[in-house]
């Protein structure tokens, strides 16, 4: 009898997946040689599942600034900002984020996960209401639990459903905070933000948008979906991460809400964890500047995304609802998904295997995330391998059309 016996069902399911080949949830890279290439099991693979949207992890300026910071300021802060104080870089990064988003305030967290935990648990409490998109990321659900607010889900990307659910809460006391994501991490679809903002205004609620996957990707200057949809004035809080487009680790929140700084003494996931080390702050600051200086990165990313999405769709794969930096291919069942994933890895492509319940509609997915650093040749190699394995497994081609028809 072990304390972990309660997870027996998961442990058995995990064992069955590992028995089929490599472990999809702990692939070990012997080396990562560029934003788009790694070595695993002695074999070079194209990295197509690392959310490295702008490919800045090996940017020479980011590396140089990061190395300088570690030499000048040491390896870590060894504690939280309320206890050990802030380094100049923490404040500089917060100013840079506030200015990038055109907001009065910004706050930096040690991870994106903690940013959601911190912001949600501080903004709403026991008598308030959180209204979440049903497909929200785990960090949003966990933040909701920590907040102790009453949590209601609305149907994914459905503003009318959101309206209906808010209407039911109309006469209840307490504040209402709607939470949506710019780009959803599994299928890569964007939120209908304009319509959601209209509902928000009519129902007198607040709105938080998690731009984790859309920062640096969407909008004329890369601020994300709110900028792309032209509704930034309606978004009260933007949360994001440094671990995707900015190539490091960490999270943030920006807002114009008055008295924002009280968060620094009440927000537990900010207060009771070590602050980001100087090297991470320095590379993030530089990456934020690079994002603004070089819109060509975003254009290359979008061109690559279109190439992969259209290539896979043309082959007959079931891709997500829209073109974007996340391209998900639905697999007929879990066994096929696991085998397909293993074969891709063995032939030189690493991407993410996503299994229910982490996926919408209980479908197993092969999830790609595209980078501005991918070359068109790498994208074509990936499409070629998908075609080859797809035919071998009968996921595309005559067999698949017969199965679909039958």
């Amino acid at each position: 009898m072990s304390l972990l016996d309660k997870h027996l069902a998961y442990s058995q399911a995990y064992g069955r997946i590992r028995a089929l080949g490599a472990d999809p949830f702990s692939v070990r890279f012997d080396a990562v040689v560029s934003p788009t290439e790694g070595v695993t099991n002695g074999r070079r693979v194209i990295l197509l599942g690392t959310n490295n949207y702008l490919g800045l992890t090996f940017d020479p300026e980011c590396i140089e600034e990061s190395a300088r910071a570690v030499r000048e300021q040491g390896t870590g802060t060894t504690g939280s900002r309320i206890a050990n104080g802030s380094f100049s870089g923490h404040a500089a990064l917060e100013q840079a984020l506030a200015s990038f988003y055109g907001r009065k305030n910004a706050m930096v967290f040690s991870t994106g996960y903690q940013a959601n935990l911190g912001v949600m648990s501080t903004l709403v409490g026991r008598d308030d209401h959180l209204i979440l998109d049903a497909d929200s990321h785990a960090s949003i659900y966990d933040g909701a639990r920590l907040s102790q607010a009453e949590v209601i889900r609305f149907r994914h990307n459905d503003p009318e459903d959101l309206y209906k659910r808010l209407k039911r809460l109309k006469d209840k006391p307490g504040q209402k905070l709607i939470v949506v994501e710019g780009i959803y991490s599994m299928l890569g679809d964007t939120a209908p933000l304009k319509e959601i903002c209209a509902v928000k205004r009519e129902m007198d609620a607040y709105l938080l948008v998690d731009e984790a996957h859309s920062m640096g990707v969407l909008g004329p200057t890369g601020r994300g979906l709110a900028e792309a949809a032209g509704v930034e004035a309606d978004v009260d809080f933007i949360v994001g991460t440094f671990s995707k487009s900015l190539g490091a680790v960490g999270g943030f929140c920006v807002s114009d809400v008055p008295d924002f700084d009280v968060m620094r003494v009440v927000c537990r996931p900010y207060m009771f964890t070590a602050s980001l080390p100087p090297a991470v702050i320095a590379s993030t600051l530089t990456a934020l500047r690079r994002l603004q200086e070089e819109p060509a990165l975003r254009q290359r990313l979008n061109a690559n995304a279109t190439r992969l999405y259209e290539g896979l769709s043309a082959l007959g794969f079931h891709t997500g609802p829209q073109i974007g930096p996340i391209v998900a291919v639905a697999m007929p069942d879990q066994a096929c998904a696991v085998a397909f994933w293993n074969t891709l890895l063995a032939r030189g492509v690493y991407l993410n295997l996503a299994l229910p319940p982490a996926t919408p509609d209980s479908r197993p997915l092969l999830r790609s995330s595209i980078s501005a650093a991918h070359t068109p040749e790498q994208i074509d190699t990936v499409i070629g391998l998908f075609a080859e394995i797809g035919r071998e497994f009968g996921v595309i081609g005559d067999e698949a059309s017969q199965r679909a028809a039958g």
């Binding site: 049903a134 909701a144 009453e150 949590v151 209601i152 889900r153 609305f154 659910r165 039911r168 319940p357």
Partner: protein
């Protein structure tokens, strides 16, 4: 399906069938996760259906005490009376 006289329980059964896409047997004592293999995510989807059926809000934190179909039925009745 056995005869279910409790209307709330009947609606719970219907919502579960709609979510799972299959016929199920249900009674007051049916254990939602063990007997019906409904995980936490599927249960949240069932709840979303039930919110529409009864036109009420069922906050997720209230599900912590729900183990059986009877528990869910009592929760809905309580929320309906509370208005």
């Amino acid at each position: 399906m056995e005869t279910v006289t409790d209307l709330t329980l009947r609606e719970i059964g219907r919502s579960i069938e709609k979510t799972l896409g299959q016929k199920i047997e249900i009674s007051e004592t049916t254990n939602i996760s063990r007997d019906l293999q409904i995980d936490s995510l599927a249960l949240m989807n069932v709840v979303m259906e039930l919110e529409d059926v009864f036109d009420l809000s069922i906050p997720l934190d209230r599900l912590a005490v729900v183990e059986t179909a009877g528990d869910l039925s009592s929760l809905i009745k309580e929320l309906r009376t509370k208005g």
